[in-house]
């Protein structure tokens, strides 16, 4: 999927609160990686898609679970935490 086709954002979904300016982040599953751009297409719990900045996590791959805040993946969640 072309990065230009998907808006670069992630939303709070049904959880409420403001993830962008509060200290809140949401887990999102990687669907695609654009290594050249340093972006990852991620899906949130509600099925919403967003391209997120992936420079802070090492080699994200499809299927990985990332913790995303303000359009940036802050951390990769540990494999044993995946369900």
């Amino acid at each position: 999927m072309d990065p230009a086709d998907v808006p670069v954002h992630c939303d709070t979904g049904p959880e409420g609160g403001c993830i962008t300016c509060g200290d809140v982040a949401v887990p999102m599953r990687v669907r695609e990686v654009d290594a050249a751009q340093g972006l990852a297409l991620c899906e949130d719990d509600a099925g919403g898609l967003a391209w997120v900045e992936a420079a802070l996590v090492a080699d994200p791959a499809p299927g990985d679970l990332l913790l995303v805040h303000a359009g940036t993946a802050l951390a990769a969640l540990e494999p044993e935490e995946r369900r």
């Binding site: 670069v8 409420g16 420079a55 802070l56």
Partner: protein, 371 residues
């Protein structure tokens, strides 16, 4: 994918609450501050207050970045938004924060091109789509959000986007905590540490709290069980006479933080000598500005901003709320003149603000208790 469900198990929650009850010493009062606005929101949303013994009180800290923005900075942002040709972008909550003469939303109604974005990358995209306009991103947030701004500025530089600028209001968490701990009218027994700030900066920056001030810190996640377990860990430290930084949120927070994020921040930002915090006043080296290498992207240097210090409204007691000296409902204007629809103080604007969280979730419980 329900990564969070296992941290909302009611039965486990009641079990942890039972352990908390068994840990507290009767006759002793405990005051625990949750530093982060995200925790405040979770505490009210899930009624965690109701699960605690009466002698354990949660005090809301200064960790909502919207709540601590002083009016003068909002006025500066509005002045830039009114500059001809500017597209002014910011997070949604910021739109409703009052300056001395209205909000960014009011500025938009007056004709300024103010747009809400979900991430700095959105703002950069708007800049690419509007090469003949200046696009200014109003950056706010603690160390959780600052890497996102830093990476976007690096991206703008690498792509050579000439019309993207940043008004930087990023703040750092340690200086206000130190200011709070130095405050004579504050009595706290321990701190629930900000989990996502610690994801970026690690656990080490909080070690001064036990070392210099003798208070335990437990870095916590944001689900109800995370918070309950963190409270239990703090109470156990107090019971056992231990005092250190513990990490309840190990599934996300590495001890050393995220080195890539810290490197990006070090490249793009530098510390301001001082910065004004709403309710807390000026605090030395408590905020970030763009470094010399990125000065050409600094909106404050590109545009003339008033830079005037505006006193908070007299009726507003956000300062006392942010310091945990009073509860939101003890403010003179809480729920009457100041509501989420018509906020006087910033604590009522953001959902993470202590007053808004209390207004939305906590006030009915209090009414029940009073009756």
């Amino acid at each position: 994918m329900r990564f969070v469900e296992e941290f909302r198990d009611a039965e486990l929650g009641r079990a942890v609450a039972g352990e908390i009850l068994a840990t507290v010493q009767p006759g002793r009062d405990y005051k625990v501050m949750e530093v982060c606005g995200g925790h405040t929101h979770s505490i009210y949303r899930y009624g965690i207050d109701d699960l605690l013994p009466a002698n354990v009180e949660l005090v809301h800290g200064p960790g909502c970045p919207v709540c601590v923005i002083p009016m003068g900075r909002v006025d500066d942002g509005i002045a830039i938004a009114h500059e001809p040709g500017v597209i002014f972008t910011c997070f949604g909550d910021m739109l409703r924060v009052p300056g001395s003469h209205g909000t960014l939303l009011d500025a938009k109604a007056e004709g300024a091109d103010v747009r809400m974005v979900y991430s700095p990358l959105d703002a950069l995209r708007i800049a690419r789509q509007n090469p003949d306009r200046d696009v200014v991103f109003f950056a706010i947030g603690f160390e959780t959000t600052a890497p996102s701004t830093a990476l976007t500025l690096k991206r703008a530089r690498a792509e050579g986007v000439p019309n993207f600028f940043c008004m930087c209001n990023h703040v750092t968490i340690v200086p206000p905590l130190r200011a709070l701990l130095e405050s004579p009218d504050l009595r706290l027994d321990g701190f629930i540490g900000p989990g996502h700030v610690a994801t970026v900066v690690g656990a080490r920056p909080f070690e001064f709290i036990p070392a210099d001030y003798g208070r335990p810190v437990v870095i916590a996640g944001f689900e109800p069980l995370d918070i309950l377990q963190s409270i239990l860990m703090i109470l156990r430290q107090l019971r056992d006479g231990r005092c250190l930084v513990e990490n309840q949120y190990k599934r996300v927070v590495p001890h050393e933080g995220n080195l890539r994020a810290l490197e990006a921040m070090a490249e793009v930002f530098e510390l301001r000598p001082h910065f004004e915090w709403r309710g807390l006043g000026f605090i030395s080296q408590s905020a970030l500005r763009l470094s010399a290498a990125y000065a050409d992207l600094d909106a404050e240097l590109r545009y003339r901003v008033p830079g005037v210090r505006i006193a908070d409204p007299k009726a507003c007691q956000c300062g006392e709320v942010l310091k945990g000296v009073i509860k939101p409902y003890e403010c003179k204007v809480f729920g009457t003149a100041c509501t989420p629809e018509h906020a006087i103080g910033t604590c009522m604007v953001s959902p993470e603000g202590a007053c808004a969280a209390y207004y939305n979730y906590g006030r009915f419980a209090r009414e029940r208790a009073v009756v």
